[in-house]
């Protein structure tokens, strides 16, 4: 493991240098809510726009990998039908991604590269450099420590940890190392500083233990299989607005819908995909009108099973990283995985 140090005053310089050569996206403050500051990813045009001491962004960085609306094809209908693929990518640095969101990106990488590889995702992904950062604050609904998402061993090009006077930077890839060499003023790291990183991390990980699963996350698949007929699904889902907020804010929700649009001349058009959510009432409805998940409870249960069981078999991991966004933004407050999973566990004891 290669570890370097950037003194805090030099971080702005590093960022300034990056902005000259790259499109840099990072976490920005956006408006106060009654709960405090809100954070969103956006373009960073000056170093002071970047915020690294955020607790959790409202939306995960998935828009950079899977745009909410993405063109797949351009086509000509008449006089001769023709189709051309659209696969777009531009170099991008995302500065400031927490480990749980990095874990989600790692999972998306696996999903979109295995089976039938998805070139739209992969090409875009190729152009993206990820600079991770360890959290310094924990959002009230986060439980990433329970989901084995407090740290990641890969998936970042660089990984920053605030140790007080400076940031320690772990180099994750050659690309990240080169970035550091070319754009940052770094120094070597002492044993004490290395220990400080361990201490800082364990302190923040401990802060994320307030909200936690009461059982090992690896038990989720068996717990869920044994909870298919739990009354909890109906109880919670009776309040579900089917508003798909939980899907939209989730860093591991990647379902999409595909549709065609045409120009007003009706001879040219595009095929797009857009983020879709399995909580929407028509998600499993087919053209004949049959809806294979007609009830709110069926859709609600599906999402938890998908996160904790179905995708577990593909990823050998839960497709929930414990960011807590679904819990934080669900208006009837029924989406909290900690509450759902712990209550299911309680019921099967």
């Amino acid at each position: 493991m290669e570890l370097k140090k950037i003194d805090k005053p030099d971080l702005g310089l590093f960022l300034q240098n990056l902005i000259k050569d790259f499109q840099v996206e990072g976490v920005k403050r956006k408006g106060q809510s009654v709960y405090g500051q809100s954070f969103f990813y956006g373009s960073i045009n000056a170093p002071d726009e970047l915020c690294l001491d955020f607790d959790c962004t409202t939306m995960p960085p998935k828009k950079y990998f899977i745009p909410p609306k993405e063109e797949l094809l351009k086509f000509t209908i008449a006089p001769k039908p023709e189709v051309a693929e659209v696969i777009e990518s531009k170099p991008l640095i995302i500065f400031g991604v927490h480990p749980y969101d990095l874990k989600a990106v790692n999972q998306m990488d696996k999903i979109f590269s295995e089976g039938n590889p998805d070139p739209n995702y992969l090409k875009r992904r190729e152009g993206i450099l990820l600079i991770g950062v360890d959290p310094t604050k924990v959002s009230p609904r986060s439980f990433w420590n329970s989901m084995e998402a407090a740290s990641v061993s890969s998936g970042f090009d660089l990984m920053l940890t605030d140790i007080g006077e400076s940031y320690l930077v772990e180099v994750g890839t050659d690309k990240g190392g080169n970035l550091l060499k070319k754009y940052a003023k770094v120094s070597s790291v002492t044993k004490e500083e290395e220990q400080k990183r361990i201490d800082v991390r364990s302190k923040i990980w401990n802060m994320c233990k307030k909200r936690a699963l009461n059982f090992p996350m690896r038990e989720l698949p068996s717990l869920l299989v044994n909870s298919l007929n739990s009354p909890l699904w109906d109880e919670k889902a009776s309040k579900c607005l089917s508003c798909v907020t939980c899907n939209m804010v989730c860093p591991t929700c990647y379902c999409f819908d595909v549709w065609d649009d045409v120009e007003l001349d009706l001879t040219h058009g595009q095929r797009y995909r857009r983020w879709d959510g399995c909580l929407a009432s028509d998600f499993a409805k087919v053209a004949t009108g049959e809806n294979f998940r007609e009830t709110r409870a069926a859709r609600y249960r599906h999402r938890f099973l998908r996160k904790g069981q179905y995708l577990f078999s593909k990823l050998n991991d839960a497709a929930c990283v414990g960011c807590g966004r679904c819990a934080a933004y669900c208006l009837p407050d029924i989406a909290d995985p900690v509450d759902v999973f712990n209550r299911l566990k309680e019921a099967v004891k």
Binding site: F256, C278, F283, T288
Partner: protein, 278 residues
């Protein structure tokens, strides 16, 4: 991240031209298509394709013909949505985009040397026809063949000339019924399960293949159980919203299977425990 970049977008369709159209019922047409690249589609009975009408959209359609050596294949299509409506408005020479074939196929190999009980409800005959015709073309490879076909009423029977042939064939037993008769109907009346008492099977050596509307499966499976056919010898084809065909978009997911990849043809013993399958 380690991955291999595919050669191009899996969303780009190939072109096929409509070479023949046959009206099957008021709402169903049979389209014979020829791939413009001159290649065979390369499908196996039971698989489906994603059909594009540019500007309208894309829809999953099961292939109703058995594989043959030229570039043609058949789709029987009920008009139920935008894409299928648009297909019905096309004439011979019209072009369609085709992606696929996708998904699993009927047990053409596993059923060799065995008896086969086909059970088709309504337009379930469309995908099943690919396997039935395949078996009839390779008749000596298979044992006793029984076809049960149920339609809501006589006017909804598909592939009339083929049904007429099947009625006359000595090497298969073909039984049919309609839920509601009209004045000309002389045959059985009742839902498809009413045909089962008329059928003798050797459960140990029978492969049963069932395709029909979602509501039909539970009732048919009660009958196959009564006949003693083991669950692992029963195959179903499930309908879901297969939007991408690539196991990604999530719309066709039933528990931990993606119907577009792990289906549409599934072994009953593999899915009977899935909450949402039937």
């Amino acid at each position: 991240m380690n991955h291999s970049m595919p050669d191009g977008s899996p969303y780009v369709p190939k072109w096929a031209e409509i070479s023949r159209i046959e009206k099957l019922t008021e709402s169903e047409k049979l389209f014979e298509l020829r791939l413009s690249n001159g290649q065979p589609l390369g499908h196996k009975p039971g698989q489906f394709v994603e059909v594009s009408v540019l500007g309208i959209g894309e829809a999953p359609i099961s292939i109703s013909s058995p594989p043959i050596n030229d570039n043609s294949f058949e789709l029987a299509v009920r008009k139920v949505g935008n894409v299928t409506n648009a297909m019905h408005n096309l004439g011979v020479g019209g072009k369609l985009g085709i992606r696929g074939p996708f998904g699993t196929n009927f047990p053409i190999d596993e059923a060799k040397g065995k008896d086969i009980l086909f059970v088709a409800g309504g337009i379930g005959l469309v995908p099943l026809r690919s396997f039935i015709k395949f078996v009839l073309e390779n008749r000596k490879d298979y044992g006793e063949v029984t076809v049960l076909f149920g339609a809501r009423n006589p006017s909804e029977q598909l592939f009339l000339s083929e049904l007429e042939q099947w009625r006359g064939r000595k090497d298969i037993s073909y039984l049919e019924t309609v839920d509601r008769a009209d004045e000309n109907w002389k045959g059985n009346v009742g839902v498809i399960t009413t045909l089962f008492p008329k059928v003798q099977v050797d459960p140990a050596k029978t492969i049963c293949v069932v395709v029909g509307p979602p509501v039909m499966y539970r009732f048919v499976i009660m009958e196959t159980k009564a006949k003693g056919i083991p669950d692992k010898q029963i195959f179903l084809s499930l309908e879901r919203r297969m939007k991408c065909g690539l196991g990604k978009c999530g719309h066709c997911q039933i528990n931990n299977i993606y119907v577009c990849q792990d289906g549409p043809v599934l072994r009953y013993s593999d899915i009977f425990a899935l909450e949402e399958a039937l």
